[in-house]
Amino acid sequence: MTPGDTAPDLTFLTADGEPVGLSVFLTSDHLLLVFLRHLA
């Protein structure tokens, strides 16, 4: 994914195991999306 591409509305899981879409978090002008290598 590079600038200009449109990201798919991915489905993630919450800590409770419930599915949640990426678009749910697009409530501001921009969203910083950070993919971690691993927790901690």
Partner: protein, 135 residues
């Protein structure tokens, strides 16, 4: 401080300029739940245990030998010098999976992309803030 700590410590700076923050981990939900009980975070974290999002954003896996590159070793030394800890991944996490940082607009259009090239390669918070359109 690891990348999550740096972003979490600056989350209000992003919000102040109109940017939300979402963190994605490859951990299983029960691992994230345990993590958040021990270390509550000021930002949302979601799980992508099958790493579909990592693949969709083009985030690669590194090789074992990459951990011995001087730049990577230096990155870990800097982390330790700043009081951070080098931790092993939780069960189910792929130690070779690399991360990345992306800025999206409301239409999910990518306006900034940073694919980590090694385990310790991350953009600074200042670089991420500077990458926001209009700044």
């Amino acid at each position: 401080m690891a990348h999550l700590g740096e972003v979490a410590a600056n989350v209000e700076r992003f919000r102040a300029v109109g940017a939300g923050v979402l963190v994605v981990t490859q951990a299983q939900p029960h691992i994230l739940s345990m993590f958040l009980r021990n270390q509550p975070q000021p930002l949302p974290i979601v799980c992508d245990p099958d790493r579909a999002g990592y693949r969709a954003f083009g985030l690669e896996r590194t090789g074992w030998m990459s951990f011995f590159r001087p730049s990577v070793l230096w990155g870990y030394l800097r982390l330790i010098a700043r009081g951070g800890k080098v931790r092993m991944p939780y069960t189910g996490e792929d130690v070779l999976q690399l991360g990345g940082d992306f800025l999206l607009d409301r239409a999910r259009r990518v306006v900034f992309a940073y694919h980590s090239r090694s385990a310790t390669d991350r953009p600074s918070v200042e670089a991420l803030l500077a990458a926001l359109p209009g700044r």
